[in-house]
Symmetry: C2
Subunit: 287 residues, 2 copies
């Protein structure tokens, strides 16, 4: 049931992005943007839409779901660049700079970030102006020098500095992947102009569990199953949750975080079952 | 008088950006972001603040001025990258990827784009939520695959295709530099929630005049005066306004556009004198 919903929500986000790009002239930029947003799991779109359904505003959340998928896609395209992680493979396909070129990949990422803010501010979405401004503000904070990009900068700085401690890795990951995951979970209450506290607690725990699961996959997964290069962190001697906690310790910590995430949604009863399933899925996935 | 105001408005934008970056940890990212936003003319900040003063909302426009300067700085940092224009010099100083490295320059641009949306949505700015959402939406449209990034993509496509016609160059430049210039000019009426028609007409003409002046500088300026490489377009055999209209023809067209820009502000009388001065400055500048 959860995986069906995930596929539906991914499609909703995908279609809104395709619609937004329809007026763009037929230059490689447009094809490369569409290529970059295709094939994702759609987890973030699901988190936006499901948190919105929890507040009975699911029908107003499509644009926010598209926004987070566009923003996530941009971050992957830039992460994969030669000057960054220099990856050839993403979601089992050539990365954008391999299929096109570096200039196109830089522009695709830049345009996808702009598209994310365009989507989140879309007036046709039926969301109040105040709520759209708040969604855009918090998305910018989660994406920029106080969130995702900061996490990436800390990650790069760690490559040449001393190995990170558990606290430092937790801070780094809270920026790099956690901030946007939490944003997705808080989109529902923000659209409904309600208190974000329970969904923020859920999102914070989920984001960290997700990253621990990523580190476990990097250690134990195969490139065919994961769809991107694996074992790179260990090869680079980088500290990860697995290197610091051990494989079993990391798995236990991920399970604890999923419990924390589910507990945060206690007051919603069975209406939050899909989000609880999502939390369990995040640490059980094989890619 | 106009140049004094320009310097003051540039400082206003600069200080708001510095303030926003104060909580960012001391990683190279932060220093490089501050480096990238320093030393600009501040023309776009002035256009935001002066258009706002025309509508008596100058005191609410600081964050929008900071936003456009952050966005402009991001576009320059990414434009200068080796995979794009591969420039070593910007505003007379080493470009970000030369002073730091490519990864830092990519992240600086990404974070500055996010910062632009954070600034424009800042709730402390005293701008109504509806107006902030509209400012962010239109900024995203002007910056992304229907505006600036599209212009850059068309520019790259032109390098390998047939020489562009005057119409095609006009379309390209309307995206590449014009859309954000027009956004800056429309910020005032948008903050005041007023009709943008006169400021849009002014901005459209100003943006095109600015780009023609840029092409003239690329042809006639010296690297010392301009602060960046010159003569690159001619060396690359790229069609420009100068190659298509001739030097005198390009100068005449720029003067006509400044007249069009000033005429659009006729209903404001002498209150629009600073904006008219700015239009004349744009085609008289030597950098």
């Amino acid at each position: 049931m959860f995986t069906n919903q995930l596929a539906l929500d991914a499609t909703t986000a995908q279609r809104l992005i395709e619609l937004a790009l329809t007026p763009v002239p037929d230059v490689p930029l447009r094809d490369a943007m569409l290529y970059a947003v295709r094939g994702g799991k759609g987890l973030r779109a699901f988190l936006v839409l499901e948190s919105a359904r929890l507040y009975d505003v699911g029908d107003r959340a499509g644009h926010a779901a598209a926004a987070i998928e566009a923003l996530h896609a941009y971050s992957l395209v830039h992460d994969d660049l030669p000057a960054m992680d220099n990856d050839d493979l993403r979601r089992g396909q050539p990365t954008v700079h391999r299929k096109w070129d570096e200039a196109t990949a830089i522009l695709v990422g830049d345009a996808l970030q702009a598209l994310a803010f365009e989507m989140v501010c879309a007036p046709g979405a039926g969301v109040a102006g105040e709520a759209r401004a708040e969604l855009a503000l918090t998305l910018a904070q989660a994406a920029g020098a106080g969130g995702m990009v900061l996490g990436q900068a800390l990650d790069i700085a760690a490559e040449t500095g001393p190995a990170l401690t558990l606290d430092q890795i937790t801070t780094l990951q809270a920026g790099k992947t956690g901030a946007l995951m939490t944003w997705a979970c808080c989109a529902g209450p923000r659209i409904a102009q309600a208190d974000i506290t329970p969904l923020k607690a859920y999102g914070d725990a989920l984001g960290l569990a997700f990253q621990i699961a990523d580190d476990i996959l990097d250690e134990t997964g195969s490139v065919d199953a994961v769809g991107k290069a694996v074992g790179k962190d260990a090869a680079a001697g980088k500290a990860t949750f697995v290197s610091l906690l051990g494989l079993d310790g990391a798995k236990r910590r991920a399970v604890d975080l999923v419990d924390t995430a589910c507990d945060a949604l206690g007051s919603f009863g069975t209406r939050a079952d899909a989000l609880k399933d999502a939390a369990r899925f995040v640490i059980a996935r094989d890619k």
